[in-house]
Symmetry: C2
């Protein structure tokens, strides 16, 4: 009988924000898998590092950062094949995922390749959205407010309508788009809070007006128009 | 010195989805606080029940379910006053919150009343959004896709524009609005997946077409137009 493929959300970065279920799966894992970007350290692995058994076999998928999708696809193809081999042999495989596996997560690329052949279980995790709200002390949504999550790389025209329509805006993947996003928000009469590396030791929380133009990829802007939770 | 007021996210319902930090705070609590609705059991307390020390003092806020806001406000006023009294005496207070404290959470009403006078720390939790995606095996968002969270009680005209504009739609608080929402989605050529009580023993996952018209309040519809995570 084949093993189970676990997609395990690890939360935003602080190992204390790993769920009890995720922690137990990692502590008991014989095979773990995780992505790393362009030869760098794996952020997912670093979150879970203290929990990984020394005896566990590690399947590392190094994903190149290119505009073309084919090289990344090839990395996931190779990783999925290695994972499939272990599953066929009856081993469970625990895939480490930053945040939540199904929320802008690379786990989805493995899920798409393996779901038809194997039992897959996803353990949801704390996302950077609510982690950023917590560290910024900003309530996100109350009552019947609408919240939209927007990737910062989208063009202005796509962003603008959403900025107008929702009560709460979560702009992800800010990075080098920060100056453009700040201008776009200001043009709509909006300001926000900038958060970088939420829940990590190097965390930064600033009014958007004071945020650095060279923001890292893992940064976010939160805008709340409503969320008056007094009443 | 006053104590700290902790808003602790407990996740969607399965106690295993409590984070390690939340579990430790509850296990060591001397005073816990939580809401209950209209004289019923507290869902938040039930999630954390196994972790609550027998010796802990419990501040229960019974919130009436009325259309008028004043009775609920009064309940939070009374609860905030009890919590403030304990904080002034130097005790920490751990407030139990379903899901995440700042995501449609009643914790916000206490936060608004206490934040200017006391140290408050929010521990983010797994939201029902990613929990529902996990149990339904539905990737939510990949790459630069846009996700909007919509409360089901909103009028059709407010919902329709968002249904058209986002790639992924999360309709919360479905309850008695289910039939109307299903029609509204169908009119836009959309269908979705219905999830009820995600991660609890009584969990239900169905195509929206098969969902019961008398859905409970804690139910959700997920719609993904994009999220093709193969590439």
């Amino acid at each position: 009988m084949s093993g189970t493929f676990y997609g395990v959300g690890l939360g935003p970065g602080d190992p204390d924000l790993i769920t009890r279920r995720a922690a137990r799966l990692i502590e008991n894992a014989t095979i773990i898998a995780y992505p790393s970007l362009a030869g760098g350290d794996s952020f997912a692995r670093s979150i879970a590092a203290d929990l990984i058994p020394a005896t566990a076999r590690e399947i590392r998928m190094d994903v190149p950062m290119t505009r073309q999708r084919a090289p990344a696809q090839a990395a996931y193809d190779v990783g999925a094949a290695q994972i499939a081999e272990a599953l066929v042999q009856g081993h469970d495989v625990v895939c480490l995922c930053e945040g939540d596996p199904f929320f802008y997560g690379s786990f989805m690329y493995l899920f798409a390749r393996l779901k038809s052949r194997f039992r897959v279980e996803v353990v949801p995790g704390v996302t950077s959205v609510t982690a950023c709200a917590a560290v910024a002390a900003m309530p996100l949504t109350a009552r019947n407010e609408v919240m939209t999550v927007l990737p910062g790389p989208l063009p202005d025209v796509a962003l603008r309508d959403h900025l107008r329509a929702a009560d709460t805006l979560v702009v992800m993947k800010v990075g080098r788009h920060l100056a453009r996003l700040r201008t776009l928000l200001a043009d709509e009469g909006l300001t926000g809070t900038y958060i970088e590396r939420a829940t990590l030791g190097s965390e930064v929380v600033l009014p958007l007006s004071e945020a650095p133009d060279d923001a890292p990829y893992f940064s976010m802007i939160l805008v709340t128009k409503g969320a008056d939770p007094w009443l």
